[in-house]
């Protein structure tokens, strides 16, 4: 089986790798905040936003879809904290409920769009599993930008994130607005997921946020190395996975990446045993 390093290969592998960087960063933050499931919720929440973005703009322009995704991604997170404050529901029930609600809404809208038969609509369903093999240079730019934004935000607000995530009471007394940091962390999650969905689809992208920090945890001792290593591992998983799916016909790239990550996390899971 010829291993061809064509432009298409470069775009596919490069795009996935770039997405992996951002996913690792967002995942490491969520890991420490004990919010790893929020990646899953956001990923499912993005779908209705993307559909609405399409319905309102009538085209499949990346901008309107991204905007829609961002709006519904945020909405889901705030719905969760709103209900959390005003309800006796436990966190896991809450997240499962939010996930089901948004996913259901997303499928409803997607089916609605499918039924209108507007030919521009086709391609929305590619968001479900991603289209890693069909990535082009524009996709690369989007995914590179989202990862770059997450890198910049983490560097800029490094100490804030570190102090807040460890002890938000302490930073509260220092006058740091909890709301600000929550918005920051949620933004990074939403942005990174929107970038990563192009490659992996929204069903698989949460895995890419969860796995790299799990792999990294036993090997790091500081917050800084945790974030960096998670980003590197995220990129590495995507790189290896997409290259592996190269060597065989009809092996879909997204799932290969996730399975690769899952297998590579076994040693860490063992190390993290009590």
């Amino acid at each position: 089986m010829a291993f061809e390093w064509s432009a298409n290969t470069f775009w596919a592998v490069g795009g996935c790798t770039l997405a992996g960087i951002g996913a690792g960063i967002a995942g490491s933050l969520n890991y420490l905040r004990s919010r790893s499931l929020s990646g899953d919720v956001v990923a499912h929440a993005v779908l209705p936003g993307i559909c609405l973005g399409f319905l309102f703009s009538g085209t499949k322009s990346v901008f309107s879809l991204v905007l829609g995704g961002i709006v519904s991604g945020y909405l889901s997170l705030y719905l969760i904290s709103f209900v959390q404050k005003n309800s006796r529901l436990k966190p896991d029930v809450l997240l499962a409920w939010a996930l089901a609600l948004f996913f259901g809404a997303g499928i409803f809208l997607l089916t609605l769009i499918q039924h209108t038969g507007n030919s521009a609509q086709s391609g929305l369903d590619k968001f479900i599993f991603g289209k890693a093999a069909a990535l082009t240079i524009e996709d690369l730019l989007l995914m590179g930008s989202t990862s770059l934004i997450s890198v910049i935000l983490v560097i800029l607000f490094f100490r804030i994130l570190k102090h807040y995530i460890f002890d938000s009471l302490f930073t509260g007394t220092m006058g740091l607005s909890s709301l600000f940091v929550e918005i920051l962390c949620n933004s990074i999650t939403v942005i990174v997921i929107i970038g990563g969905i192009q490659a992996l689809g929204f069903i698989l992208i949460p895995a890419l946020l969860v796995i790299p920090p799990v792999i990294a945890r036993p090997y790091i001792t500081t917050f800084k190395t945790f974030v960096i290593l998670s980003a590197v591992i995220g990129a590495a998983i995507c790189f290896i996975g997409s290259v592996l799916s190269l060597g065989f016909e009809s092996l879909p790239t997204g799932p290969v990446i996730v399975v690769t990550g899952g297998l590579l996390s076994i040693p860490s899971l063992i190390k993290l045993k009590r």
């Binding site: 420490l32 004990s34 607000f157 100490r159 804030i160 570190k162 102090h163 995530i165 460890f166 002890d167 009471l169 302490f170 509260g172 007394t173 220092m174 006058g175 740091l176 945890r217 790091i220 001792t221 500081t222 917050f223 190395t225 945790f226």
Partner: protein, 241 residues
Amino acid sequence: MKESAIDINNLSVTLSGNLILDNISVSVEKGMLTGLIGPNGAGKSTMLKAMLGLIPVNQGTITFFGKPLNEIRKQIAFVPQRQEIDWDFPATVEEIVLMGRFPFTGFFKRYSSEDKNEVEQALASAGITNLKNRQIGKLSGGQQQRVFIARALAQQASLIILDEPFAGIDAATEETIREVFIQLKNNGKTVLIVHHDLQTAAEYFDRLILLNVKIIEEGKKEDVLKEENLISAYGRKVKLY
């Protein structure tokens, strides 16, 4: 005229529909070791968090050394309960204590050698110099408490507020922490502590505040620990050894 470190007037707080603090008015005297005591659920932690603007209040004004919170944050060090923290966080003891230098560095300035020196001193005062590079996840309860004490010391604040620092720690740590507080008092600092154990309250503190949703009594130990006050607060007779 006694100078107050903290003045609370008409503070009321409701959480989840329950009135936790009912029109509290109390002062904490400057330069004293004050213990905030009362039964479980009395609102002690809530009072701390309300004072520090960490939770919303129904009504009330709070000043520190005569100033509102926002003007004087840097002079206040807060040590939360140990279990409110996820100690699995990847960091060394030194990094956590360095956080205490926030009033001097803010969120963006590099840590100077002065910062590092202050941290060394704080670690020494708390008796954990040897733990400087230890991962916080590998600390015992007493060691964790000392880390938090060191962080508060590194802040060089005038007012230190602690939430149950004596809970679940070993005897050696208890000794060390008491010495730290006495040292702080000798240096003119004010210390306010939420304390869980009535039996040791008289021994540890100069002043006491007995709280159960309302202020039952505050001031000198002998006044506060009178039998009728304890019955008011705890709902029954409490034996003091």
